[in-house]
């Protein structure tokens, strides 16, 4: 997902938030990963907004996508120029109303914003893991979130919401812990990557691994594979937009010039935009984390893992009430993929609502301000909380 961090136009904000850490799975109680390896101790960074009620039944878990972190809303410091990544959605009176709900967001395992990942120190060698970090899955991400929820002594979740890879975690939660999830909102997501999505991820990964600085993933003491990660991010950004949004945003407009200059610089605005996004990204993201998380997303296949190939069977143990949302111009996770999950949910007699929002901004639309999405989420959460 892209960075669209914007202050809320209404000025409403959760205010100052604090990043917290939960460490668990210390040896010998290491966490067994789906790929077979065990790992521990693990640290998960998380943030909370709102107040947990006495019955602990107002909890909403927000699950972030590829490049997100636990900082969903508010500011760490009054001097911060930008709030958390979903500040437009999470806050007092907003789509996810922090006056009503206790909202939790944790950084996924394998990422690089406070949770254990390839850039962390391996306690066994006292060196950074690098590519000695085991491959992880969406299921592993959910296991660490489950450990955090248990640690917070929360027994059930009123709702969970996530877009893109965050939406995969939502679906995995519902299948893995059907009794814990009362309701769920998978946004702009899929139950399995298409060949197209895997293809883009693979090109992005190859760009990182082809960077001479990557050094098989062991670069933390030297130069980082910045060029590779920049290109990977540029590729990602193309898939987050759409033909229409690029046409409207850039067209063939030139960057800081009135005529073609017959050189290989960034002449078109779209080139300059992608390079800018790539350069911004390397300041905050780890190239190895990009490899691990995209791989986890490519592996995700709900039907294969839980239904011997049948999506209907995969959802058969689910009990949650669902709101599925897709976007007309999302070609990374097109509407037909959302409709497939809706179909499988219906065949299991699950309570599912579905809306395809007309938006020109491609996959990224779920991160942009939208009264429509706010109202959908508000109404859905209200009815979910009445039913519990």
């Amino acid at each position: 997902m892209s960075e669209y961090i914007d202050q809320d136009q209404t000025g409403a904000s959760v205010g100052i938030v604090e990043k917290q850490f939960f460490t668990f799975a210390a040896p010998p109680g290491r966490l067994k990963l789906e790929g077979g390896a065990s790992i521990g101790p693990l640290t998960i960074a998380y943030e909370t907004c709102g107040t947990l009620n006495k019955d602990k039944n107002n909890v909403i878990l927000v699950l972030h996508a590829l490049s997100g972190d636990s900082h969903m809303a508010g500011y760490y410091d009054p001097k911060d120029t930008k709030p958390g990544w979903w500040d437009i959605m999470v806050g007092p009176g907003k789509g996810i109303d922090t006056d009503k709900y206790f909202v939790i967001c944790s950084n996924i395992i394998g990422s690089c914003s406070g949770s254990t990942g390839p850039a962390s120190i391996n306690p066994e060698t006292s060196k950074t893991y690098g590519t000695h970090f085991p491959l992880i899955t969406i299921g592993d991400m959910v296991e660490t979130q489950k450990a955090l929820i248990d640690h917070l002594e929360i027994k059930s979740l009123l709702s969970m919401i996530g877009g893109s890879i965050g939406g995969m975690q939502v679906l995995e939660w519902c299948v893995r812990y059907p009794d814990m999830v009362k309701s769920a909102i998978p946004l702009a997501t899929t139950t399995q990557h298409s060949a197209l999505a895997i293809a883009f991820n693979e090109v992005a990964r190859q760009a990182i691994m082809a960077d001479p600085n990557w050094n098989d993933g062991h670069y933390y003491s030297g130069k980082k594979p910045d060029m590779g990660l920049t290109i990977a991010r540029m590729i990602g950004h193309i898939t987050y937009l759409s033909d229409e949004s690029m046409r409207l945003k850039f067209g063939r407009k030139l960057q800081n010039r009135s005529a073609l200059s017959f050189e290989f610089g960034a002449e078109f605005q779209v080139e300059s935009y992608l390079q800018h996004q790539g350069n911004k990204f390397i300041e905050r993201f780890d190239a190895n984390s990009f490899l691990y998380i995209t791989k986890a997303a490519d592996y995700f296949d709900l039907a294969r893992q839980y239904g011997s190939g049948s999506l209907v069977k995969a959802f058969s143990k689910c009990k949650s009430k669902f709101l599925v949302v897709s976007y007309t111009s999302d070609w990374l996770y097109p509407t037909y993929q959302s409709k497939e999950m809706v179909k499988a949910m219906k065949k299991n007699n699950l309570d599912v609502s579905f809306c395809e929002i007309d938006a020109q901004w491609g996959h990224d639309a779920f991160l942009l301000p939208s009264d429509r999405l706010d109202n959908l989420i508000k109404g859905f959460l209200r009815s979910a909380s009445h039913e519990t």
């Binding site: 219906k346 609502s353 579905f354 429509r372 959908l376 209200r382 009815s383």
Partner: protein, 204 residues
């Protein structure tokens, strides 16, 4: 929403629905009927609506509604998943009415179907005296922009029931006024004097 705010035809449908039942609303619009039934009769509701803006209105109200084509979406539900499948003011816009009725009778124990009556006297008079396709309050479109591709009368539907194979359990012929808020039952020559027909149907 109070009962008197509900459209007259929807009030009649609502009065036929047993409390606590499971309802599927086909072409449920902004969900007025489903919302009323959920609040007043504690039904478990599902709705299908094709227009995004209307779907959003439904979900805002806390209804379980999905966006899609009723003919396709009705297919995915298990047999007898519902007590009632309601198709209010939509049948006249459906390309294949028999197949939709079959699906309704598969997924639900009973069905409710309502539609504007093309046999109404005003319609007949307009056609007879102007020689042009009728435009009335109930059928407000011109021939070239109407979504109502299936024009039928109450008598047509009665005959249709024996052709397609379902039973008519209840029928209401009505006339509405005051923007459909109020209305009355039409007992005398309904096919001539009723503007709308509402039918409760069951399996044969």
């Amino acid at each position: 929403m109070k009962p008197d705010q509900l459209r007259y035809d929807l009030k009649i449908i609502a009065s036929w629905i047993e409390p606590e039942s499971k309802i599927l609303g086909l072409g449920c619009g902004e969900g007025d009927l489903l919302f009323w039934l959920k609040k007043e009769k504690n039904v478990k509701e599902r709705g299908i609506e094709i227009e995004e803006a209307k779907v959003v209105k439904c979900i805002e109200k806390g209804l379980s509604v999905l966006q899609g084509d009723i003919n396709e979406e009705v297919e995915d539900y298990p047999d007898n998943a519902f007590d009632y499948a309601i198709c209010s003011q939509t049948l006249q816009q459906v390309y294949e009415p028999p197949s939709l009725i079959h699906s309704m009778m598969r997924v639900a124990k009973m069905g409710v179907v309502s539609f504007p009556n093309f046999g109404h006297i005003k319609v007949r008079m307009q056609l007879a005296f102007t020689g042009r396709a009728p435009v009335t309050k109930e059928l407000p479109y011109s021939w070239h922009d109407t979504p109502n591709i299936r024009v039928l009368s109450l008598n047509d539907f009665e005959k249709f029931s024996s052709q397609v194979g379902f039973k008519i359990l209840k029928r209401a012929a009505i006339n509405t006024r005051n923007n459909h808020r109020q209305g009355k039952m039409v007992n005398f020559l309904p096919n001539l004097f009723a503007t709308y027909g509402i039918f409760l149907i069951g399996k044969e």
